[in-house]
Amino acid sequence: MGVDADGEPLFEPVAWDDALDLMASRFRAIQHREGEDSAGIFGGASLTTERAYQLGKFARIALRTSRIDYNGRFCMSSAAGAANAVLGTDRGMPFPLQDLDAAHTVLLCGSNPVQTMPPFVQHLASARAAGGLIVVDPRRSATAALTDDGGGIHLAPRPGTDLSLLLGITHVILSDGAADEGYLAERTSGTAAVRAAVAAWWPERVEAVTGVAATDVVTAARLLSRRREGTYVLTGRGAEQHVDGVDTVMAAINLALLLGLPGRENSGWGTLTGQGNGQGAREHGQKADQLPGYRLITDPAAREHVARVWGVDPEIIPGPGIPAAELLTTLGVPGGLQALWVNGSNVVVSAPDAAEVARGLDRLQFLVVSDFFMSETALHADLILPVPQWAEEEGTMTNLEGRVLRRRKIQEPPGQARDELWIMAELARRLDAPGTFSTNAAEVFEELTRASAGGKADYSALSHAGLDGLEGPAESSARQWPVTAAAPEGTPRMFLERFGHADGLAHMKAVRPRTAARRAELGPAHDRGSIAEPPVPPDAGGPDIELMLTTGRLLEHYQSGTQTRRVPSLQAAAPEARAHLHPTVAARLGVSDGDRLALASAVGKAAAAVAVDTDIAPHTVFLPFHFAGEQTVNRLISTVVDPVSGMPEFKAVRVRVARAAPAPPGAPGPAGAPRIDDPQESLT
């Protein structure tokens, strides 16, 4: 790879055989020189479950590396961590989505489905009709606006204070004596410690921390304790993408447990999964610490079982690796990764401290990127492998309700794109890997079901043929796991008799906002307070002020925008990152709609167009994360992460903002990843 006269990277076509020979020999040479863990795989939650499974297997027995993780760490991992700890099993929604149609009260904590998941919104209609939609969001988002006109109530906590707010709502429920004591005694443990922790968060104290009026905290609590049947607690990225994201979700689950919601019909807790295959991609070994079936890689019995399915000695399966954000800090550094294969993930845009990630990719000795478009990450690669997209391959995905859905091939991929399963099989052969690597998705799925058998996410009674044979509307043509010989129809509602822990109980854990001693105990890598003050943006052209940055999505775009920024109508509707500012803030900065805003945090800088917006609080600025180059908001995000889930702090980041100084005439454009000017450009 070289660069052209404009500094743009130059790529030249290469035959598949040569490409795979090159990749295998480079990976092998680097691993030979620097150890097996010098090569790694970064996966994605957009892959089909078959490919996510195969990638985990490929890492462990073909590359023999522990270094595999995926972009779901930036998405659902906090909810997964909390659900595993408290409920014993992580299935995003342990009940069918349609159950919400009979709900009268839904607490939606940190989710904006009107923009991010429009089909979901119809399921909120009955809660709105009953005046019971409670939306927690620092912004008056389109979803928060659904609470207007008697639909419910919008609580707007300061960014990063969701945990205190949830404790406050829980406090009122307990003070009112509205807890379901019979259920707690029968189905949970640890309630005494939870009660003690919550006792310190009465509404007036919560008000001082969150900015949410005590009266609104009480109103929300009273709505939630109206009647158990028909009450749901749902969390989203807003609650989860924090350094205390796992604690925040645990607080939400505790709240639900105190009301007796989970594990019963017509009520429950769930999380709204953020990516297409967010659930399936996290269940079968793509995570650093897991093996298929949601098994722990440290569990000897799990290793034994999976090794038998793979036809290998359990000894050769490496131990746990390191989670995504941390993994990306080891790029090209001594003792870190020297070779990386990125699959369906655009880390240059989506990872925290994105500018440093880009530098890290350039330090690697060898970078391979598989994608179906020329992503910003692919521009850094030594080798780009074009792969099919969703309608061009067979497979399955598992949706937010744990429902396993078939994805069918309706057309051949264009050009020379090749299926990842074929790529892995070819590479495995070149690497003399043990075991088999089928190129047939149905066969891989069949193997996956055996590997998952007996695990938490048990797919053992599923097959492509079986799924294809189901008739009727979507909800009856798919199955919710676990699907086993004992439960061949699947499990629409989990935990009805017992939770996922060995004793069958839900294990409530006391959580509280971290105090200084606790933060010190966890260390600076997990301490929001360890991030330095944001500097004045280097290109500030006017007065600057400090704000709290929170990030999120737009309706028009998906994830890093690799796909949607190529769709002309979407790009026309939302062509650039717009920083939402309260009018009083805009007035003080001397900016108006469309002006260029400069932002800086302790780790980086970014730019965006101003959008003056009364729906945002004056202490907050919102930016979407779909954009690249200087508009990459994740360049402002540090690598401080949740100690359990490895989730970065995406939702409460101190930044300084100012009107951007006009660029001097003739000066080169702002530094950033090269622009992709041709929206139709693809690899094929």
């Binding site: 003070s175 410690a193 003690a196 006391a510 202490h619």
Partner: protein
């Protein structure tokens, strides 16, 4: 222990560094800048260095005895639990009451049945014990000997449950025997060795000087029907009276008195509040706000009476019947709640030769002694340092800066968290030198205070940033509505930070202001958005649907485009979908498309 020249002996305070109040080193407050950082003059630096060198460093496995088991003690213990679990610290908690720490802030609400007993407990005994904390309840500390580092404890007769029973037994520690105790079984008195003591003894209610009332703070019990509403027994008593719709008379027009009267009136219908000055809360509110509050109290069923009380009248059985006033009047009632302020429980510290003024005097690192062996946190402590460069403390001495009002929990919790973090930093670094983080900075000399009325229908907050006052505020905003009894005023420094503010009956504006003060965040520009948060005006009618409205969000199809498609011949939803891509995604817009079709059909046929 080299630099002890300025210490006159155990129990003495630093002598040479302390200047008389209002001494010659006082600076003009304006020179002290915005004042968040203490001005570090040379004297100040030398003072700090002396203090640090006089301290006895921590060792691994030291025994910390926490005296008190209230919410502040609980916060401290919760925060040092990881150290206890790892054997880096031994902790014994001595609680005088037979209960685990409970939330005194909510005792008043418990008294009227607004909150459940269970929601009061702020610490979990099982969690503490599992971590290895020695918890002794019903244990009264009689003496603290700082020379031999012993503490003398009287354990109440074994009671049921979590009380004395198992506490009388010594917890055998295989340690250096630092906690070996001698006991006099017959009297229930035992001794305990310690390396450090954290005093969190809280405050007791002040008893007013009234005929018929024993003035001794720890003296005989109050007459039946008279309570200070401090502990759970008091609360149960009040609960019984208001449940029978008995009449409660509250003496004292501070925040706690107002809350008690409101709580009683909420359940019983009415209550009487006896206060001095023109209106309740007259000392913290401007006359205008106080008048509006009084009107709201009246509406809530609280009769306010400005008077001086002189006597408690009792019936032949000794039970309360009426409060007699200096003006000759008398207010009959079933219960008298004394809400005349609190005073620090500092007797133990005083007996040990520690300096006590309004409370146990501690510096900004919460040390009560020079060696750093005794600390005080919460209501029993008074922060007043002798640093000649510490402007706030100089102002406090001179009476120019008000100390935060007593009886609030937030400052105590901040202290507990700070002390735990300070000890944790030192002890963890001992266990693992890689964790050395350098000295923990002292607590800020300025602390914001938030005085928040907890009542069902009256939202009132008085905020004070604690910043030293230098000249007139740079900005004042004021909104008052006499008819609706609403009030909002705020004063700002020129950097936009709130100096103080009062909000009555504007709960959401109040929440924003409170959170801004707590976060130390400036508020600038047009602030009328604060008023809009609580506005009850009707929302404007939504504009009539227009061609630019997006109907299909997934494909971004507007009403205009759909109408064009219909006009162009699309007569079914399928045809519209084929023409516009509308409804190819989530399907949510299907009903709207159908409605549009029907509407278009109707208009075409007419």
């Amino acid at each position: 222990m080299t630099d002890r020249t300025d210490v006159s002996g155990p129990g003495a305070t630093v002598s040479s560094a302390g200047l008389p109040p209002g001494g010659s080193r006082r600076q003009d407050p304006r020179e002290a800048g915005a004042g968040l950082e203490p001005a570090h003059g040379q004297d100040s630096v030398a003072f700090r260095a002396r203090r640090v060198r006089a301290r006895v460093p921590f060792d691994v496995g030291e025994h910390v005895v926490v005296v008190g088991c209230g919410p502040v003690a609980a916060r401290f213990v919760d925060d040092v639990l990881p150290l206890v679990e790892r054997g880096l610290l031994r902790v014994t908690v001595l609680g005088a009451e037979p209960h685990m720490a409970y939330n005194r802030i909510l005792v008043g609400e418990y008294a009227v049945g607004r909150v459940s007993r269970e929601s009061l407990t702020v610490a979990d005994l099982e969690t503490w014990r599992a971590a290895g904390v020695d918890v002794r309840l019903g244990a009264e500390v009689l003496r603290m000997d700082r020379t031999r580092r012993r503490i003398t404890v009287r354990v109440a007769a074994a009671g049921p449950g979590e009380a004395a029973g198992e506490n009388a037994q010594e917890n055998d520690q295989e340690n250096d025997g630092a906690s070996e105790s001698s006991s006099d079984a017959s009297a229930g008195i035992s001794g305990l060795s310690w390396d450090r003591v954290v005093l969190a003894t809280g405050a007791r209610a002040v008893r007013p000087n009234l005929r018929g009332l024993d003035p001794s703070p720890d003296g005989a019990v109050l007459p039946a029907g008279v309570t200070a509403l401090r502990d759970l027994d008091d609360a149960r008593h009040m609960r019984a009276v208001v449940a029978e719709r008995g009449h409660t008379v509250v003496l004292g027009g501070g925040v706690l008195g107002v809350e008690a009267a409101l709580a009683a009136a909420e359940t019983a219908g009415t209550a009487t509040l006896v206060h001095t000055g023109d209106h309740p809360l007259g000392r913290v509110l401007s006359p205008g706000t106080a008048r509006l509050l009084a009107e709201r109290l009246r509406q809530a069923g609280v009769r306010c009476r400005s008077a001086r009380a002189v006597a408690v009248a009792t019936d032949p059985g000794g039970g309360f019947t009426a409060l007699e006033l200096a003006d000759g009047g008398s207010i009959p009632g079933d219960l008298l709640v004394l809400s005349c302020g609190v005073q620090a429980r500092a007797g133990l510290a005083e007996g040990a030769g520690l300096r006590v003024l309004q409370g146990i005097v501690v510096d900004h690192e919460l040390q009560a002694d020079v060696e750093g062996r005794v600390f005080a946190i919460g209501d029993c402590a008074e922060v007043l340092c002798r640093d000649p460069g510490c402007e706030p403390c100089l102002q406090r001495r001179a009476g120019e800066l008000r100390s935060a009002p007593a009886g609030m929990i937030a400052p105590g919790w901040r202290q507990a968290e700070y002390l735990a973090a300070r000890i944790a930093a030192e002890v963890r670094a001992l266990a693992d030198p890689r964790l050395m983080t350098g000295p923990v900075e002292p607590m800020p000399a300025h602390e914001p205070s938030v005085l928040r009325l907890k009542a069902k229908d009256i939202d009132l907050v008085v905020l004070d940033s604690g910043l030293p006052v230098a000249g007139d505020p740079a900005r004042r905003i004021r909104f008052t509505d006499d008819a609706l009894c609403q009030d909002l005023h705020a004063e700002f420094a020129d950097d936009g930070r709130l100096r103080r503010a009062v909000a009555l009956a504007r709960p959401r504006a109040m929440a924003q202001l409170t959170a801004a003060v707590e976060a130390g965040e400036p508020l600038r520009g047009d602030l009328t958005w604060l008023l809009s948060l609580d506005s009850q005006w009707a929302a404007p009618e939504p504009a009539a649907a227009g061609p630019a409205d997006v109907v299909c969000r997934c494909a971004g199809v507007t009403r205009g485009v759909l109408e064009e498609a219909i006009d162009g011949g699309a007569r079914t939803a399928e045809a519209i979908t084929a023409a516009t891509r509308a409804c190819t995604g989530c399907g949510t817009c299907h009903p709207e498309i159908q409605a549009l079709l029907a509407q278009r059909d109707a208009s075409m046929t007419t």
